[in-house]
């Protein structure tokens, strides 16, 4: 018999899938909502148990999906990193659903709410499967699921604008999955395997013999570009602001906080378990990532600075944050990848917090989205105000908050690579200043009393006030205070990949 906790990855994925499939049988959207909450809470608890078991032992295991061992059957693999990501995905999904529920039931027609929750459950399954998979083709299948589900949760709001942005999102996203699939197929042609460790053996053999160098380089490029498109790395991220800015609050929070991250986690796993990070560096992929990351940091910040629609501003800022992550991976030092992982975790908490709070604040003035007109809204809904302030401060990089820890370790790792030190430092500096320039005026504005404005009476949402906002904010603070410990755990986890 296997230790019982080895079953957790498979059980989490299958639980989400089965609940997603069975939602059409439920009688109303409310029930579907409760089931989805229950499932994400269960996944969170199970992943916490997995973390509790694997992190102290620093254990990495594979799990056979069915009766046949890999490479014949499918296989999952999990260790500290996967467990942590599973925990964050479950928790943030739960908190986003809880915090955005009121807007959600307002934005989506009652007859179509069940469909929305089917998508949410499947999206959760896809995120978990992309994190846990040890097989490239399984990874592709779940990329496909996440593509459809992500587009559907944007279009669920059913306004002309969201339909337009979804079509754009769908087209670009399919290009990304298409490139990824071509990459997987070519890789199969030159290695004969789909299982990550087996491909790795073959790739190392090919590198040492010099066989099929061209296809191997092209494959690395295709897998990278495919995922870069899907995770909105500059210059492939033009779809993001409209899609994330127009969706209902919960969708924006989940898309920015989780979906983009799921792909990056899978990319890191592919780099470590399929190519090995040394081969990736030899193929110069990390240099391209570094350059794109830097450009994305600047571009995202400038666009966010120019934006007046608060949710689109947050979406542009996501593009900049994705730039930080890719810059970290591109630094060519192991600490850089760990710092990028920390950034992934921090951003998974901060962005949903900001989106949820912005959604609440805009309700104060009759769903007003223009940044300027939110003046004084924090006084009417101080929980959202405080949440937004904490999130913004973390984005800017105020010490004791998660954003500071991530930036601190990014700079530390830049120090270890003199060749990339100055570009990284200067860009980080510019981007941090830009962050302050667009987040701080917003914070000041929402706390400035407005005598002439006519606020709506705010309906209290206990789920948001008591659970979502406090937990997300404490997640940000926790990561800020425990940056060093987290980096240690992540580095040990990366060594196991």
């Amino acid at each position: 018999m296997l230790p019982y906790y080895y079953n957790i990855p498979a059980v989490s994925i299958l639980l989400c899938m089965i609940s997603g499939i069975s939602i059409p049988l439920l009688s109303s959207g409310r029930r579907a909502y409760r089931l989805t909450l229950f499932v994400s809470a269960t996944v969170t608890l199970l992943s916490a148990l997995l973390m509790y078991k694997v992190i102290p032992l620093n254990e990495y295991f594979t799990y056979m999906m069915g009766h046949f061992p890999a490479p014949w059957g499918n296989e999952l693999s999990a260790g500290p990193l996967e467990a942590m990501m599973g925990f964050i995905f479950g928790l943030v999904m739960f908190l986003s659903l809880l915090g955005g529920s009121m807007t959600l039931f307002h934005d989506i027609l009652p007859g179509k709410q069940k469909f929305y929750f089917t998508m949410m459950n499947m999206l959760m399954a896809a995120l978990l499967a992309m994190t846990y998979t040890n097989d490239l083709f399984t990874g592709y299948v779940f990329i496909e699921i996440s593509t459809i589900a992500a587009c559907a949760i944007v279009v669920a709001r059913d306004t002309p604008k969201t339909i337009g942005s979804t079509i754009r999102y769908l087209a670009i996203s399919l290009l990304g999955s298409g490139l990824f699939l071509i990459g997987v197929v070519l890789l199969y042609c030159i290695t004969g395997h789909l299982l990550m460790p087996n491909i790795q053996t073959q790739v190392l053999r090919l590198v040492s013999t010099g066989l099929y160098t061209v296809p191997l380089t092209v494959v690395a490029g295709l897998l990278f570009v495919g995922i870069a498109i899907k995770s909105a790395l500059f210059p492939f991220g033009a779809w993001l602001p409209m899609a994330h800015g127009g969706a209902t609050t919960t969708s924006s929070a989940v898309l920015s906080g989780l979906v983009l991250k799921g792909y990056i986690v899978m990319l890191i796993k592919i780099f470590y378990r399929v190519f090995t990070i040394d081969v990736i560096r030899d193929l110069n992929v990390t240099n391209i990532m570094f350059a794109c990351g830097l450009a994305g940091m600047i571009y995202g910040s400038i666009e966010a600075f120019r934006e007046e629609h608060i949710k689109r501003m947050l979406a542009h800022s996501s593009m900049a944050q994705i730039g930080y992550i890719f810059m970290g991976i591109g630094l060519d030092v192991n600490l850089g990848v760990a710092a990028a992982f920390l950034q992934i975790m921090v951003h998974a908490f901060v962005k949903p917090l900001l989106f949820l709070c912005a959604g609440r604040l805009s309700e104060v003035y009759d769903h007003e989205k223009s940044s300027y007109r939110l003046r004084g809204s924090a006084h009417k809904d101080w929980v959202a105000g405080i949440g937004f302030t904490i999130g913004a401060m973390s984005m800017v990089g105020i010490p004791l908050l998660g954003g500071f820890a991530a930036k601190f370790y990014l700079v530390t790792s830049a120090m270890m690579n003199p060749a990339k030190l100055w570009p990284a430092l200067i860009t980080l500096m510019i981007s941090a200043v830009m962050n302050a320039l667009y987040y701080m005026p917003e914070v000041i504005a929402i706390w400035t009393r407005c005598e002439l404005c006519t606020p709506n009476p705010v309906e209290s949402n206990l789920g948001f006030d008591l659970i979502s906002a406090p937990l997300l904010a404490s997640g940000v603070i926790f990561l800020g205070l425990n940056g060093y410990t987290m980096i240690q755990v992540i580095q040990r986890g990366l060594a196991l990949l």
Partner: protein, 301 residues
Amino acid sequence: MNIETNFFKRLNDWVNGEADRLFPELHETDAPKPPEPVATIGPLPNKDVLFLTSYQAVALIVVIGMVSILLYTVYKLPLFGVADNPAVNEVVERYVEKGLEETGAVNVVAGMILDYRAFDTLGESSVLLLAITSVMMLLLKDEKNTDPDEELIEAHEAVIEDHNRDMILQTMTIILMPAIMLYGIYVILNGHLSPGGGFSGGAILGAGLILFASGFGHNRVKKFFNMKTFRTLTTIALLGYGVLKTYSFLLGANHLPTGIPLGTPGAIFSSGLIFVLDICVGLIVACTMYGFFSVFSRGEI
């Protein structure tokens, strides 16, 4: 209203919330806006023409570049079918040599997709459910995407259509329909014995339904296949797949026997779960195909 151009004054205005002085046009709410005047068609401004031309030029260069890279890569790939092709390895060997013995399926492909790699196929079948669900989310008739006038016209057209059915199509449908349905069922049920299976058989069934709907109208189909049937069938089929495979995944991973007999290879009731899973997949594919047709053409099933 004077609009500030000085950067610091604008920043100051922003902090003070003087939105109207900054961007008078940007007052975005969810409240319905008055309809914009219909744009008149005229020559594009020069700036747009320049943009479109350069956009097309850049797109062409990117596409040509991408195509040449991919073609060159394919040229450099190992030759297909030669003995030292990397894809000829222990993976394929076991599928081909032990597939029958281990899965009980004469059709090795069915054994691979529904037993060895059943998890991937569960994902693929869910993709179909997700696709039809997203289409329904968008196109099913609701208060946002319908208006009474259009409804009236559509109802009127439906009546005319009902009285003017195409006789050739109807006669051919009556002749072909039983054969198509029977063939679809045959392909699904024989999935583990011969080429075919749930995906192809389901597509045949779905095509049969679509043919019937085109010949006799949706209302005739609705008598035996409506929204409720659709929902029940897809959900139960996919749920059946999910639950059965969860049982088999979890026991298999923990090295426990499932107690499902493989039967005699070649017999119709053989190959364990594959037979049942093929039926599930077939039902999903058939329902999804007809669902797409129906939702796209009429906004309901």
